[in-house]
């Protein structure tokens, strides 16, 4: 395994036997997660997200395939060696899984007890970790006395106690309210930056991935449909990951006139090949140009979208614009209507494509889901 990879899976498969029938949870997943990245695992429930993350620390034994973490192949390890390896992989859970019989300090110290650290060292390290997650003043509190966000902070401190190089997070913010989730995510991001920790985030929340991750994999029915950096995926909106990250703009927008009629007209215009007509296009602009693309009022002559349209000599109208950061990259999406001859519209499309705006006919919501 190349040194810069924290995790690599090869043809990872897991089949459960449930009431006499085989249920395939993972049907051959290949993943490469570079060191120091925040990597998202996206998918609907039942897609195999939890099984995947549990294979990464050996809580599940894969049916076939390989899992390497930090250069160590997990599938071949005996029980004791696997336990030793798990200490290098921290895990945070949706429902925190803190021991009620212990204080916050005792919970954080648990992994240190497991590795046999001395009493003084356990106490000092656990206190330092509680300080790191901003809970130094709650060291003596039992989990029942803590709020959800505080519990998850204790869970994170516990996961970091044995100084892992990889942190697995299984829906860590799904049981928290939005504000608390934000602060827990900010903490994870901060830990990723400060400690160079590789984080694997399992989530069904798209916003979490957009906000947190450098790269992600999209799972469906135990198969990795698409994987890669978010910036790249956002630049290819037709890719499976791109489609999930950038859901289709509504098929009908205000000012769109009759959306269906407009789309029918555009299809007809394209089919006819020559006639004058109106055509709707969805554009995506990523990177530094994104900001200028959504600034119609101070329309800048150098802005690539407008420059391309001007060069093609078509009339156009901006119907909608969305701007958001995806994985730290600014992404602008626009829907425009072109009015003009078929040739002029074709010229506009190729000029837009040359400008990197990836012009596409609007996707309907059904298409986006498919």
């Amino acid at each position: 395994m190349p040194d810069e990879l924290a995790i690599r899976t090869r043809d990872l498969r897991k089949t459960y036997r449930r009431s006499g029938a085989d249920v395939v949870a993972l049907a051959g997943v290949d993943l490469e997660i570079p060191r120091g990245q925040v990597f998202g695992v996206l998918g609907t429930s039942g897609a195999g997200k939890s099984t995947l993350i549990r294979c990464l620390n050996g809580l599940e034994r894969p049916t076939a395939g390989s899992v390497e973490v930090d250069g160590v192949e997990l599938t071949g390890l005996g029980r004791a060696a696997l336990r030793a390896q798990r200490r290098r992989i921290g895990m945070v859970f949706q429902h925190f899984n803190l021991l009620n019989s212990r204080t916050a300090l005792g919970n954080v110290a648990l992994p240190l007890e497991i590795v046999g650290a001395g009493r003084r060292e356990r106490r000092e390290r656990a206190l330092r970790l509680l300080d790191l997650v901003d809970l130094a003043d709650q060291a003596g509190a039992h989990p029942s006395q803590l709020s959800g966000g505080q519990k998850q902070r204790v869970g994170i401190a516990r996961a970091l106690a044995a100084e892992p190089s990889v942190l697995l997070s299984d829906e860590a913010t799904s049981a928290l309210d939005e504000q608390t989730a934000e602060s827990v995510l900010a903490l994870l991001r901060d830990l990723n930056r400060r400690l160079g920790l590789t984080i694997v985030l399992v989530t069904h929340q798209l916003s979490v991935v957009k906000q947190m991750c450098d790269a992600a994999v999209l799972l469906r029915d135990g198969v990795a449909l698409d994987a890669g950096s978010l910036a790249e995926a956002a630049a290819r909106p037709a890719s499976p990951l791109g489609r999930v990250l950038l859901p289709a703009l509504p098929a009908e927008l205000p000012g769109d006139g009759d959306g269906d009629a407009a789309r029918a007209a555009s299809g007809a215009a394209r089919a006819a090949g020559a006639a004058d007509g109106r055509e709707l296009l969805d554009l995506v602009v990523t990177g530094p140009a994104a900001r200028a693309a959504v600034a119609p009022l101070d329309a800048d002559a150098d802005e690539p979208i407008r420059a391309a349209l001007r060069s093609a000599g078509v009339a156009w109208e901006l119907l909608a614009a969305v701007y958001e950061p995806v994985g730290g990259t600014p992404v602008a999406r626009l829907r425009i209507a072109l009015d003009g001859s078929a040739e002029a519209r074709a010229a506009a499309r190729s000029a837009l494509a040359a400008a990197g705006a990836d012009p596409q006919a609007p996707r309907s919501a059904e298409e986006a889901i498919a």
């Binding site: 620390n57 809580l59 004791a80 336990r83 030793a84 390896q85 798990r86 200490r87 992989i89 921290g90 895990m91 859970f93 429902h95 899984n97 803190l98 021991l99 009620n100 019989s101 212990r102 648990l110 992994p111 007890e113 497991i114 590795v115 039992h142 989990p143 029942s144 516990r158 106690a161 044995a162 697995l168």
Partner: protein
């Protein structure tokens, strides 16, 4: 009414408490070990030994099926071998313990089973061994339930210990049978019952307090 009622009841109470106390002192560690083994060898346990589990389960169930009064007599040879006598307080402790361990083992098993699987998983994810899971997660997390179970068991042993009196085991049951029943000294019967009621109340109260104190849920 006999003038010796108070010393009679007092001595019998001390004998009863000795029987119950010693039986519980032996039962608690054995029952915890057996209960943990039942859980760990079970279908969802870490050790997963179906044969061992079936065998243990069978022995425990047989132990619980035998009526105590029968067990009392059936184990006389074992009692003689272990403590050298078959009558008196010490002798009664052997059948009492034999009857109590399987009962408490099942209580322990179910208390440990109630510990959420996620807590076990969290410890396993941190690299805990099966032994560490038992000592650091299962037993501490189940402690309030174990205390409550031990309270129920102690009160059960108290009841059994009164039966042991029927075969010369000493204690409050012995007194109630010999004086109250065989000599028609109703006041003795009433006195033993009063003491037993007080004991049960005290044990239950103490058990509840302790379980509540240890529960941080």
């Amino acid at each position: 009414m006999s003038d010796d009622l108070v010393p009679l009841i007092w001595d019998a109470t001390k004998e009863t408490l000795t029987m119950v106390g010693v039986a519980m002192l032996i039962t608690v560690p054995l029952g915890i070990a057996l209960g943990a083994l039942l859980l760990l060898t079970g279908p969802r346990g870490a050790l997963r030994q179906p044969l061992v589990n079936a065998l243990l389960g069978f022995v425990v169930n047989v132990g619980r099926s035998v009526p105590f009064i029968i067990l009392l007599i059936a184990v006389i040879p074992l009692t003689r071998a272990l403590v050298g006598t078959t009558i008196g307080t010490t002798a009664a402790i052997v059948p009492l313990t034999l009857a109590t361990v399987p009962f408490f083992a099942r209580i322990v098993e179910s208390a440990l089973r109630e510990v959420p699987a996620g807590l076990v998983e969290a410890a396993q994810a941190a690299g805990a061994s099966d032994r560490q899971v038992v000592w650091k997660v299962l037993l501490p997390e189940a402690l309030p339930a174990l205390i409550a179970g031990a309270t129920i068991t102690t009160i059960g042993v108290l009841g059994y210990s009164a039966m042991a009196g029927a075969v010369g085991g000493g204690g409050l049951g012995d007194v109630a049978i010999r004086y109250g029943y065989q000599r028609y000294e109703t006041d003795v019967t009433i006195a033993t019952v009063v003491v037993l009621v007080v004991l049960v109340q005290a044990i239950q109260f103490a058990g509840d307090r302790l379980a509540r104190h240890l529960s941080h849920a």
